[in-house]
Symmetry: C2
Subunit: 318 residues, 2 copies
């Protein structure tokens, strides 16, 4: 059965409004939608309004938002009952805590109440759609739409279905994010952590290894990213980087010539575990690296750079 | 014994002028030095002059170069005999092919001819200083100064000594690159691939795994970098990213809450080898990803983005 026309979506439900939900709300409001938020925490209306208000400057600078903040806040509503919230929406983005039982119960309730032509997307980073759709009457409409944090700024959304999700629902969801200005990628298979978090975890594992082995400080290992390969990762993935590293001969030439060296490095990569010793070593290194700069100062520095970078790259990322 | 005063360096010898040597020459010329190049290949003078000329626009745009290209080329000389090349220089950057015997022989010759107060830096990515300094009379002056390609644009230089390198030589070399406007990091220990290439290899290994497992196409796995975590890697390493990911509680809070999920992903990371099957799969994926765009077009796109990015980030990277 066909899903609702994407161009007819005017209202989006946000179920669960922690950091991810609030950031999604900012983005949807910026793109002109009405947002219907439901979250049992008593401070949610205040927190979400504050988040939206604080994010509006960056969204305006990036030309993602084109209305006043007052107009945006007038399109934001809060609902005690999640079923009422989704009933008035043509698309639902679920962002509950990463607890399977919690998500399953909520999805079952929403599914039972919603017309069958409505998609439900889940922001989950750690769970699979297959594990969440078990008790749904319409499991075909459950799609994972995993944003990269923070959703209101990062272009990437990973889209993947479960065993019982329909191909049409996956396509609908990817197309809808695309229509909104996001850059969705569709995974062909469920896998723990989707793609981006696994790549990030792989990089971090070696970064942790090099600190624990005493090769470099936390600060220097970080610099080895941001002053070197990281400058390309902002606009290219590693496959294309090595393809161009092979010159006219491309990836084939690269593998024939540099492949043996890469294999040597692969064989030597570390595999530390998350542990109390590792935690302690990183805390010592971060104390040096942060040089007394606290969270607010560093977060502000990060966000200012990110917006500047997005502005620089965006005209070409299309 | 003390090394030559860094501020008295006027001439730099480039031994081996392939891609890395030519790019170092561009950088040193841009910073106002005379460059004495020695490489047995007959087309080297033409190739290096062409490289410098083509790189001058970007170097000028970045304000790394402040003279005319004619002035730069007038400071570039070519020498058949590497010993003559280094004899007139106060600093030597060696960039021979990655063959241990070749490098060892050359370093022995240069070492025998040079005053003991001159540093020799090697650009090697795959060899250790310990393995190259064996037959030198003054092994204490051999330091690895591994640039990230291309050296004329990338800020990072990895500095590391061998067992017999002096601490003073390592400090001298790091300070000298710093004086030139590079961003050196000093490794506390020799390790195959230094730091940046290992981090890049770790990321690529998982990227290859996800393609081989059929989770995502080459193009989509690349997008999962450049539209997500890569946007931060251009200005932050993963340690600081996760430290801020923990909010006010920092890395400790992050590990306590997200650590178990990260451990799950670490346990599930792939470990493919460089193989004919892997090579073939990547070539198929790159054919789709490049959509007929050839090397020149893609390399131009890459370099234009890189310069734009460096311009955007540089005022803050200091």
């Amino acid at each position: 059965m066909p899903f609702v026309d994407q161009n007819s979506v005017t209202d989006i439900a946000i179920i669960g409004a922690g950091t991810i939900g609030a950031s999604w709300a900012s983005y949807f409001l910026a793109r002109g939608f009405r947002c219907r938020v439901s979250d049992p925490a008593p401070d949610v209306p205040e927190r979400v309004r504050t988040f939206v208000t604080q994010s509006w400057g960056a969204l305006t600078e990036l030309e993602t938002a084109t209305t006043s903040i007052d107009d945006a806040l007038s399109r934001l509503s809060f609902w005690d009952d999640p079923v009422t919230a989704v009933a008035g929406a043509q698309f639902t983005q679920e962002n509950l805590p990463e607890k399977l039982d919690l998500k399953r119960d909520m999805l079952k309730r929403l599914d039972a109440a919603l017309a069958a032509d409505r998609i439900i997307a889940s922001s989950t980073s750690g769970l699979t759609a297959s594990s969440m759709q078990e008790s749904m009457a319409h499991p075909e409409r459950l799609v994972i739409g995993h944003p990269f944090n923070p959703p209101h700024l990062m272009p990437l959304v990973e889209v993947v279905g479960g065993e019982r999700t329909s191909a049409e629902a996956i396509r609908w969801t990817a197309d809808f994010y695309d229509l909104l200005g996001k850059k969705p990628i569709v995974l062909k298979k469920e896998v723990p952590g989707h793609i981006a978090n696994r790549l990030q975890a792989a990089l971090w594992r070696e970064a942790v290894h090099l600190v624990l082995e005493g090769v470099g400080s936390v600060e220097d290992v970080d610099k080895a990213v941001s002053l070197g390969p990281g400058l390309r990762w902002a606009f290219m993935g590693q496959h294309m980087i090595f393809h161009l590293g092979g010159g006219e001969g491309g990836m084939g030439h690269f593998i024939d010539h540099i492949g043996p060296a890469v294999q040597t490095w692969w064989n030597d990569l570390g595999s530390p575990d998350v542990s109390p010793g590792m935690r302690a070593a990183l805390l010592v290194g971060l104390r040096e690296a942060t040089e007394g700069r606290g969270y607010s100062e560093l977060a502000e520095w990060r966000d200012e750079k990110l917006v500047r970078l997005l502005k620089t790259l965006r005209p070409q990322a299309e």
